[in-house]
Structure formats: structure tokens, C-alpha cells
């Protein structure tokens, strides 16, 4: 008899929130926001598209990142996605055939995309919307629907 309970997932590993405050597998992309390592006031918006491996990185007002190619920001994004979601989930989402992932470079070597047009506003808007989840009210009323979930 198949089970109704999902296999429980390992709890996420520690992530560098200050470095990568936002990372998400969303709408066919691994996307996120990465803090600049030189200027604490600056943040970059980056993504990798699932399937194609196309990528982009720029500041939020679309000033391109000087790093070129798979820059340090995108690498930090992947590294933190691996911590948050686990290697298997990230590799599967991006469409990497080899699921044997020890670090972000094992993902990077399997992606052969090119630089894509960037729309940092879309990623940024999603980050703000994602944050709004925290502001939804808590409750002490029953929530029997949660009996279905023991994941994450």
C-alpha cells in the first residue's frame, strides 16, 4: 500500500544569510539576491535558468556585474541553494544529469548556458513578496490540513 506521508527531508544545512539573503527555486529558475563582498551597501540579483543553464547577474538597477561568466555571486547563490535545498533537489531542478554533487562547481561544470537578458526587478519583487510571508498573522486555531506535511 503506497504511503500518504512524504519521506521526511533532512533539515536544511546552515546558510550564509548575510551573504545570500534570498535564494529560491522558483518559476523555472534558481534565483536569488547576493551581497557584494566589497561594499556592504550593494546587493546583486542573479539567476540560472533551469534546463538551458542561461544565467544573469547585475545590481538591482541593472548595472551589470563585473565578474563575467559564472561570477562569484552566482557561485555563492548555488552554494547556498545546495545548503538550503540539498544537492539532489537543486541538481534535479536545474536538469543536471549527474546528481553526484559535492560542491557548487559540480553544478557549474554541468551547465553550458550563456549570459541571458536580465530583469532584476522580477527577482527583486519576488524576494519582497517572499518576505511578506513572514508578516502573515500567526494563529492558535486548529489547522488539520497540516497533518499532511512533515517536510522541510
Amino acid at each position: 500500500m503506497p504511503s500518504v506521508v512524504p519521506h521526511r527531508r533532512a533539515a536544511p544545512a546552515k546558510r550564509k544569510l548575510q551573504k545570500v539573503p534570498y535564494v529560491e527555486l522558483y518559476d523555472g529558475r534558481l534565483q536569488g539576491v547576493v551581497s557584494s563582498s566589497s561594499d556592504p551597501a550593494r546587493v546583486y540579483v542573479s539567476f540560472i535558468e533551469a534546463g538551458t543553464g542561461n544565467y544573469a547577474c547585475s545590481t538591482n538597477n541593472n548595472r551589470p556585474c563585473g565578474g563575467g561568466g559564472f561570477c562569484g555571486h552566482i557561485r555563492a547563490l548555488v552554494e547556498n541553494a545546495l545548503a538550503q535545498y540539498g544537492a539532489d533537489r537543486v541538481a534535479r531542478y536545474l536538469g543536471c544529469a549527474d546528481r553526484n554533487i559535492a560542491s557548487e562547481s559540480d553544478i557549474a561544470r554541468q551547465l553550458h548556458g550563456t549570459k541571458a537578458a536580465h530583469d532584476p526587478g522580477v527577482v527583486f519583487a519576488r524576494f519582497l513578496d517572499y518576505l511578506r510571508t513572514i508578516e502573515l498573522p500567526a494563529s492558535t486555531e486548529p489547522l488539520p490540513e497540516m497533518a499532511w506535511f512533515v517536510t522541510g
Binding site: 503506497p2 546587493v43 538591482n60 524576494f127 492558535t140 486548529p142 489547522l143 497540516m146
Partner: protein, 431 residues
């Protein structure tokens, strides 16, 4: 506690459901002969019940290619009715083995949905229809993305909080698994359950349980943690004794939305402030005298009123639960996944498997913890068989369960959220 006996008919009932699940996996838009037969068997199984006509009509309509929302809702209701009958039989068997008395829930009429709820329920139902037409085995991101985008309005509309909690978990789970084509290991039964539950949640609002204000003595037994990436809930199981009422097993639920970056102890830091005295009483077990607390007709207490600690430590694993009353799930929630019968003792029943996979990784209980434990608090469950989900183990050093970690987290500030908001603020400025 004795080992419960699986009631007669459970296997047959589930065979009917499994065949429907295969039809939902291949998709109702292209109905293969065996899928058509499966829907026919579902109609036969519920024939003679109040649902009989609706399911029979829906089955014929779907076979003709008429794929309207109310037809699919009838299939969901028929499937849920069978799961409900299984649930009733399982609960009766579990109550016998645990020595408990089952009482029926007391409910009012379903509230009338406001216009905003109706609109949101209809659009959600439309998405669920599309999922069923495509089939769980043919889902790609393009079909799931619209649902992800539509979650926020559901989450923000308080009357639909329960539907939003379910859909947020379900849609994200589908998005995580997409594309599903060619994957032989899809959790088809689970998805069909979530799909039917959501379909029914889009049809009408659930009936509101009766509410009364009462006073009594609460003995906390243990806490279960349930969560997906966007919501976490603590469900405390306890014994409640009030004057003029039977001793009753009750639940108290604390829940909060979150983002996946808020994990580990920081999750607890968001829950504990909702009922600090309860969380403290779970970590260092004591009894609590409650005054002016709200008792629901579903056997749930809604935290509130005055709380007084009754001096003297208690050991939850030594509490005698025999003869206590447990409330059956209301009609809409009749499904084996909702059955959680508290059981306590010096060790888990020897003949039942310990279902560690039902326990949250946040509870930090692992296989082997049962060895050398002095006592045990758990929930009798049924998934593909009976099992006991551990909630806590009593050890020489005290109680091992999630509550201690929750107390420790009380000292944490809500740090992750502060970092995220500061960084988001940087983005709002030009750089």
C-alpha cells in the same frame, strides 16, 4: 495497549481508491479503458449513499468528455467518502486497542462564504481541474506556476487560511517534482489525497465546530511538529479534565507562516510566544489550570484565558489514559492521516513499528533513542499499517522531545528575519 486489528474491508476499499488514483495520474482528459472502469467502480462503491447519483453522473459525463468542475468535485467527494469510511473503521479499532471512548464531533452549519472567498475558491478549483485533466504523471512547470502565483491572495484572506495552508504545501510539492513525466516514483496516492482534499475545500467552507468557554485542568502529553517550507505548526496533545465532562484527549495548535530561510531553532522562536505557558509545560511537564479557555466541538482547545501552573512535576509517560474520550474527525477531515491517538508507557508497544518518519526532523529524535529510555509518549498512527510516531522519550536526564529546543529558542531573537529585511532594504535604494 494492545495491537490494533486492521478492520475488514480496508484493503478492498483502498483498491477502489488506488484505481481512481491511476486515472488521475494518466489524466482525465484522455480516459483509457481501465481508468473508465476505475471511475465506474468508484460510482458502484458509493452507489446507494447520498453521493451515489452525483458520482454516477460525473463518471458518465467524464467518459463523454464533459470535464466540468462539479463533475471532478463529485469524483473527489466519492474518493473522500471511501477514505472516510476507512478512517472511521481504523479509529474504532485504534480506540479499542487504546481503551478510549470515541465521541462524535459537534459542528455548526458551514458558514456562508463571502464574495472574495468564492472568487478565490473558484479560481483555485479551476487550477485543480487542470491538474486532474493533465494527470499527475504529465505535470510541467507551466501548469504549476500559475498556482504558485495565486497563493498569496489565498494566504492573505483569513477565512481561507486552512485552504491556503494545504494549497501552499501541495503546489510547492508539485513544483518541486515537475516535470513529472517518466518519473515512476511519484507519490500518486498522496497527491490524489491532497487533490481531493483541496477540491472539497474549494466547494464549500468547512463547517465551523461548536465553541464553548470552559475551565479545567490540562495535562500536556507531548508535541507534534508539522510543517512545509512556508508554514510550521505545533500540535500539542494533552488530557483535559473539566467538571461535568468526561476526561478528554484534546489538541492545541500553534501555527505561523515562515519562509524556508527561517529554519531550525528560529522556527520555534516564532511559535513559543503564542502560548509560552503551554510550551514551558511541555518541556518541564506540569499540569495547568485553565480558566476561560475555548473548547471546540472537534476536541481542540484554542489557547487563551487565564493559566495557572499546578505545583509538582508530572511524568507524561505514566499518565493513565484508559477510559478517556477522543473526538472523531469532522466529516471533511475523515482520513487516516488525521488519526493521531496518544499512547504513553514505559516503552513503545513491542509489536508495532516505531514510525520515526512521521516525526519532524526538528524534533531531533532519531532511531535508537527508544533504547534505554525510561518512558515513551507517542501517537498511534496508520499509514500502510499501524505504527507509533514518537513524540518524546523520558531519559535519566529528563524528557527528550522538541519542547526543550523550543524553550531554548525563546531566548533567540528573530534573527534571520532581521537579516533578510535589512538586505531587502538595500535593494530598495539605488546602488
Amino acid at each position: 495497549m494492545t495491537v490494533p486489528v486492521v478492520p475488514e474491508g480496508v484493503a478492498e476499499a483502498r483498491a477502489v481508491v488506488l484505481a481512481v488514483d491511476r486515472a488521475l495520474t494518466s489524466g482525465l482528459a484522455r480516459l483509457a479503458p481501465d481508468a473508465r472502469a476505475a471511475l465506474g467502480e468508484l460510482a458502484d462503491a458509493v452507489g446507494g449513499t447520498p453521493l451515489g447519483n452525483a458520482v454516477a453522473e460525473a463518471t458518465e459525463a467524464i467518459a463523454r468528455g464533459e470535464l466540468l468542475a462539479h463533475h471532478l468535485a463529485a469524483i473527489a467527494a466519492g474518493r473522500a467518502a471511501i477514505e472516510g469510511a476507512v478512517c472511521d473503521a481504523l479509529l474504532a479499532a485504534m480506540a479499542v486497542s487504546a481503551g478510549l471512548v470515541v465521541e462524535a464531533p459537534t459542528l455548526g452549519l458551514p458558514p456562508t462564504a463571502d464574495a472574495r472567498s468564492l472568487t478565490l475558491m473558484q479560481s483555485t478549483q479551476q487550477w485543480l481541474v487542470e491538474i486532474a485533466l493533465a494527470g499527475f504523471g504529465q505535470l510541467d512547470r507551466s501548469i504549476i506556476s500559475p498556482a504558485l502565483g495565486a497563493l498569496r491572495p489565498l494566504q492573505e484572506h483569513a477565512p481561507l487560511r486552512r485552504l491556503a495552508a494545504l494549497l501552499t504545501g501541495f503546489a510547492n510539492e508539485l513544483a518541486d517534482a515537475a516535470p513529472t513525466a517518466g518519473n515512476p516514483e511519484l507519490p500518486v496516492r498522496r497527491w490524489a489525497d491532497l487533490w481531493s482534499t483541496a477540491m472539497l475545500g474549494c466547494a464549500t467552507l468547512p463547517a465551523a465546530p461548536t465553541r464553548r468557554t470552559t475551565s479545567g485542568v490540562l495535562t500536556p502529553l507531548g508535541a507534534d511538529l508539522v510543517h512545509h517550507d512556508h508554514l510550521v505548526a505545533l500540535v500539542a496533545h494533552a488530557l483535559f479534565e473539566e467538571e461535568g465532562q468526561p476526561r478528554r484527549l484534546v489538541r492545541i495548535t500553534l501555527s505561523t507562516w515562515r519562509v524556508d530561510a527561517i529554519a531550525g531553532p528560529e522556527v520555534f522562536a516564532r511559535l513559543a510566544p503564542l502560548a509560552p505557558e503551554l510550551v514551558a509545560a511541555l518541556a518541564s511537564p506540569v499540569r495547568l489550570r485553565l480558566q476561560g479557555v475555548t473548547m471546540l466541538g472537534t476536541g481542540d482547545l484554542v489557547w487563551g484565558g487565564a493559566v495557572e501552573v499546578i505545583k509538582g512535576a508530572v511524568s507524561p509517560h505514566t499518565i493513565d489514559l484508559a477510559g478517556a474520550t477522543i473526538t472523531a474527525p469532522p466529516p471533511r477531515e475523515r482520513h487516516a492521516v488525521q488519526l493521531a491517538v496518544p499512547c504513553v508507557g514505559s516503552s513503545p508497544p513491542a509489536d508495532l513499528p516505531i514510525a520515526f518518519d512521521r516525526t519532524s526532523p526538528l524534533a531531533e529524535l532519531t532511531e535508537g533513542d527508544e533504547k534505554g529510555a525510561l518512558g515513551f509518549v507517542g501517537l498511534l498512527r496508520h499509514d500502510d499499517g499501524f505504527g507509533v510516531q514518537p513524540l518524546a522519550f523520558a531519559t535519566k536526564k529528563g524528557l527528550r522531545g522538541p519542547a526543550e529546543a523550543i524553550i531554548a529558542a525563546g531566548k533567540l531573537k528573530d534573527r534571520a528575519a532581521a537579516v533578510l529585511e535589512e538586505r531587502a532594504g538595500r535593494l530598495l535604494r539605488k546602488s
